[in-house]
Symmetry: C2
Subunit: 230 residues, 2 copies
DNA sequence: AATGAAAATTGGTCTGACAATATTATAACT
DNA sequence: AGTTATAATATTGTCAGACCAATTTTCATT
């Protein structure tokens, strides 16, 4: 592997990143204009623009045509582009993503119980009741199902873990999967949610993880079936 | 939120991504040249270049000065750029990263044992012996420690899991942490590695996970100490 | 056939101009 | 004075052409 000689553009990128760091600029802060940068860095507008565009692409800056340049408030926004491309290029196996999700959710349960984080049991129950409603009304159930699992992860009091999980979830949602979900299976899913919440309330990690494992079982069965067919 | 009118640059970006998809281009494949793109898309070189630079920034293309443009060989590596910036801007708590690492490694052990993946026990032992050597010789121990944990994750037969774990690991390595590592503690670490390998060989998940938990304990103690001081 | 110099190709940087969009200043009106 | 419509200005987007730097290709020489 050859060491890439630093192009002017890359130097400017580094200087801009440092500038942001040193001046402690925060999301939505106004940044310098192209003109100011060309003058201060003494490079052509071309180079400045290319550096700015790179930084916009990775979600560090936000360029408003005619209105200036701002620090982006990226909540993983640009990561989506990368995941999508990665998925389309390498074709990730669903099984791999489900395995990861299971690991994360089992881990979340352990964190919640071991750390004894303050947890709003009622809120979880409430979300699950909404889930129950959509099931009974034959509406789209995904929203509340996801909200329930999101809330569990969020309860771990670990923002990085939450962000990371969201990335995985985002990735997972790229994969089209037609899991047959009859009413019966959904009701069972609802009951498992409740069982998990109860286990958390009782500080019963083993039970919580066992139920979560059961909760994941149908999708693994489905995947195994799919893999056998192909 | 206003819907951003598509700039020429963004249109070109979309068309290039589609082109890659449709022609099923794979990493390291040669892509079109700037000249070809300007002619075929009938836009200025400026626009083409800015689009290409955006796609390079997110790890979709790789531009070789003088040598052409290629499909990038990205293993989610460009996510690292984003996380790094995120870390430098918002600051991440070490505790959060260590918690995630623990979750991932406990999860890896479960995957390995539950799936009964073919596993080269001897190789793991060998790596750990090299680790032992560096400890005894007072050399830098990090390399083989990391290699050991990497090998565990790799053994799960889940490439996506491995890629994401690597991202966390890289993220973690950004954080400077001065864990006091005396010879005694390192030897204990070495022994735990061996114990984990033996537990895997014996399909003893509980023991493996218990040992791994112990393995993480010193760093949690250290972090707690640090948090109390500040 | 192997080598090495010359030519052509390709991406990097510069300059200057005009267009499209957003912001600011000004003028007109109530 | 305050509001609103309009004009002026500032800022980013796109274009064209030129030259530089790195790489690849061509081809004459050995």
């Amino acid at each position: 592997m050859r060491i890439q000689k630093a192009s002017l553009k890359n130097i400017v990128i580094e200087r801009i990143k440092n500038y942001i760091s040193e001046n402690n600029l925060k999301p939505n802060d106004k940044f310098l204009t192209e003109k100011m940068l060309t003058e201060q860095l003494k490079v052509s507008r071309t180079v400045v623009r290319e550096a700015l565009i790179s930084l916009q692409a990775v979600g560090i800056l936000m360029i408003k045509p005619g209105g200036g340049i701002y620090i982006a408030d990226t909540k993983l926004g640009s990561i989506h582009t990368i995941l999508k491309h990665h998925y389309e290029t390498y074709g990730v196996k669903i099984r791999e993503l489900v395995e990861i999700r299971k690991i994360l959710e089992l881990g979340a349960l352990r964190l919640i119980i071991e750390k004894q984080v303050p947890l709003d049991i009622d809120q979880l129950k409430e979300i699950n009741e909404s889930y129950h409603q959509t099931i009974k009304n034959n509406e789209d159930t995904k929203k509340f199902d996801r909200l329930f699992h999101q809330s569990l992860i969020k309860a771990t009091d670990n923002a990085t873990f939450f962000n990371f999980s969201e990335i995985i979830h985002e990735y997972f949602s790229l994969v089209k999967i037609d899991l047959i979900e009859n009413q019966e299976a959904l009701i069972r899913s609802y009951e498992q949610h409740n069982e998990i919440v109860d286990a958390i309330r009782d500080n019963d990690l083993v039970h919580a993880q066992k139920t979560m494992t059961d909760h994941f079982e149908p999708i693994f069965t489905f995947i195994k079936q799919m893999e056998e067919e192909s």
